[in-house]
């Protein structure tokens, strides 16, 4: 095994171009487990800890450009207002020690359906910035990023540089089922974001299909129902039948398996429950801000 230690992003890209099989390691919270247990013996480890750019983030007009290695701890502490869904998801990652090392780039690189960040990224809307020495930078929409179980749209010579996440324009929620609060790999997880600007709702489901997925039929149904009932304007409570139908469609978007953490039918059920709850929470919060702004007017 060789340990490659690029000192800059350019050096990292050059190393990846020269050794496409090199396994990038940043926080190490996935890669080291595999090496410790001898599940993986990469020929090259590509250490990204010295690439300082990967630890920075910029808050722009529309999006936050989040460096691939920004630890979850930093996201929780610094980006709660801009990226509430991702901040909530970050807080559910493992433990403080793990959140101090791990970042979104690792979740995306591993592309495990159980990665905690995925549902939040899908719901908020995001693009993954990847780069290669040969072809430069490209932005991959998050909807096209996950291509199979632990597979993503990355080419062998590419590295994940950052993720551009849309800044929240409305309430966001994140919910995760596990046996306790800390140190839990999700049995299943659900992210929901209201986008009052475009009058749309987006979702993200984790651990309940071969890849992280959106519940598109559920989103379309809810978007239409909210529009038809004038809900965005009148701020009424969402009718229970609408919430139920939304929850059922979210369950139907799952394609889960039975495993040690839970059965397929439990996952389907739990996703429906989380969908209904996160819809209620975010909608209540939307109504609250509407009332507050009307009261002020």
């Amino acid at each position: 095994m060789d340990f490659l230690r690029p000192a800059s992003w350019e050096e990292a890209l050059a190393a990846k171009a020269e050794h496409p099989t090199a396994v990038p390691i940043a926080g190490g919270t996935d890669v080291m487990v595999e090496i410790n247990f001898d599940h993986r013996r990469p020929e090259y480890l590509l250490d990204l800890n010295r690439v300082g750019d990967l630890y920075e983030w910029e808050v722009g007009e529309e999006t936050v450009r989040l460096g691939a290695s920004v630890p979850y701890t930093r996201i929780m502490e610094n980006l709660r207002a801009e990226l509430p869904g991702l901040a909530l998801a970050s807080h559910t990652v493992a433990s403080p020690q793990i959140r101090n090392r791990g970042g979104v780039g690792g979740n995306l690189g591993t592309a495990s359906p159980a990665g905690d960040a995925h549902p939040a990224l899908l719901a908020a809307g995001a693009e993954v910035e990847v780069e290669s020495a040969a072809r430069g930078t490209r932005l991959i929409p998050i909807d096209d990023f996950y291509t199979g179980v632990k597979r993503n749209a990355l080419q062998p010579d590419e590295l994940i540089r950052a993720v551009h996440v849309a800044k929240a324009d409305g309430p966001q929620q994140y919910s995760k089922v596990g046996t306790r609060n800390a140190m839990v790999i999700a049995v299943c997880a659900f992210g929901l974001a209201l986008h009052p600007g475009t009058r749309t709702v987006r979702t993200g489901i984790g651990s309940a299909a071969p890849t992280p997925v959106r519940a598109r039929a559920a989103e379309e149904f809810l978007n239409a129902a909210l529009e038809e009932g004038g809900f965005w304007d009148n701020g009424k409570i969402i009718t229970p039948s609408v919430a139920k139908q939304f929850a059922d469609l979210c369950s139907a978007a799952c394609n889960p398996i039975d495993d040690v953490r839970g059965t397929a039918s439990y996952r389907r059920h739990a996703v429906g429950v989380m969908a209904r709850r996160t819809l209620t929470w975010t909608w209540e919060s939307y109504r609250g801000t509407r009332r507050a702004s009307e009261g002020a007017a």
Binding site: M1, D2, F3, R5, I25, G27, G28, T29, V31, M32, V33, I35, N36, F37, R41, P42, L45, D47, N49, A94, S95, P96, Q97, I98, N100, R101, N181, A182, M183
Partner: protein, 192 residues
């Protein structure tokens, strides 16, 4: 490969390190510092917790090469680390040498444990509160608790639970561990 880094305030060099080796392995097997414990090797238990450039991490998940040029504090250096923090440079030479660290032990047994040795306040509090049973989880808990009290001098119970949520105690003595952290916080705020 060779790894140069600072351990407990002193520069160290580890030779013949295999590229896939963890920082935990280097500390225990190459530098002879078995204070950090190896239990799960997958980030689940926290018994390998050390400070890496001040940040609490699971040393089993840090590749040895990633520690190059960086500062590590292990439980063996905790007493000195805490002392430096309270009195700054006036305490004299900083750091714990490898020999000192290797011989580090809380002297005495039973209720006398710790007497006659310099302990960090958090170590003393663990002894006084009876928070050590088999002791396997203790090094990781000490490093994590010490860091909590460094950034939050008056933690709530929820803060303590959160800070220690990545540390498992197989003897399940969590109540005494909570007592110990509360005790250390109280003593710290009284300035004892």
């Amino acid at each position: 490969m060779r790894v140069n880094f600072t351990v407990n305030g002193r520069p160290q060099e580890a030779d013949d390190v295999w590229e896939g080796e963890s920082l935990l392995y280097v500390l225990r097997e190459r530098l002879g510092l078995p204070g950090s414990k190896n239990a799960c090797e997958q980030g689940e238990c926290g018994s390998c917790t050390v400070r890496l450039d001040g940040v609490p991490v699971c040393s089993c998940l840090v590749a040895a090469g990633q520690a190059e040029g960086r500062e590590v504090v292990t439980v063996e250096g905790l007493a000195d680390f805490a002392k430096q923090r309270t009195c700054g440079d006036s305490c004299g030479t900083a750091g714990t040498s490898l020999d000192e660290a290797r011989q580090w032990a809380a002297k005495g047994t039973d209720s006398q444990t710790g007497e006659g040795t310099e302990l960090s306040p958090i170590q003393q509090a663990f002894i006084d509160a009876g928070a050590v049973q088999c002791g396997f989880c203790t090094p990781g808990l000490l490093v994590a608790s010490d860091e909590l009290l460094e950034r939050n001098s008056n933690p709530s119970d929820a803060d303590i639970r959160e800070a220690l949520s990545g540390n498992l105690c197989r003897c399940t003595g969590y109540e005494k561990i909570m007592d110990a952290v509360r005790l250390a916080a109280a003593r710290q705020s009284e300035g004892v």
